[in-house]
Symmetry: C2
């Protein structure tokens, strides 16, 4: 995840900073909507591309804010459920 984030910085950080948080968030929302449409069908390759786009825009957004996605993810989900503290999750809800 960290390597992907570094690559995205090299590719797009200048452009991402120019676009800013608000504009980049709007792209993320649009890509999530596209993923939702693709998930209704069964085109695996197209679905994979939409997953890639969502990750890419989420990473761009994190880069603008200087947030390390891998660290953020592992701080919250570190081999146990953040709610019930079990693995696998044993939440009852």
């Amino acid at each position: 995840m960290r390597e992907f984030q570094e690559m995205m910085k090299n590719l797009y950080l200048k452009r991402d900073l120019e676009r800013g948080v608000s504009g980049t968030f709007n792209w993320l929302v649009a890509e999530v909507a596209e993923l939702g449409e693709e998930l209704k069908g069964s085109n695996r390759e197209a679905t994979e591309k939409e997953f890639a786009d969502v990750i890419a825009w989420l990473t761009s957004l994190a880069n603008i804010r200087g947030i390390d996605l891998e660290k953020a993810a592992l701080n919250k989900y570190n081999y146990k459920c953040p709610k019930c503290q079990s693995s696998p999750c044993a939440c009852t809800f």
Copy 2:
């Protein structure tokens, strides 16, 4: 990214499969909205947690469909921009 996805499988796959694509996608959309709200403020720790939640739900969704997120991301964004084929991106739009 692959390691995080494996961990999420161990934690949540059974639950994710029971919930299904549609219900899990709805959670993803809700978490993206929460991230958007948090990005309006300046609470770094809270923002990191929202990024973590979005990644977690996106990963759950990929797990339901059996999609390898790292492979999907690198297939599309492999050290060059998928549109202009340059690094850094030199698209003019």
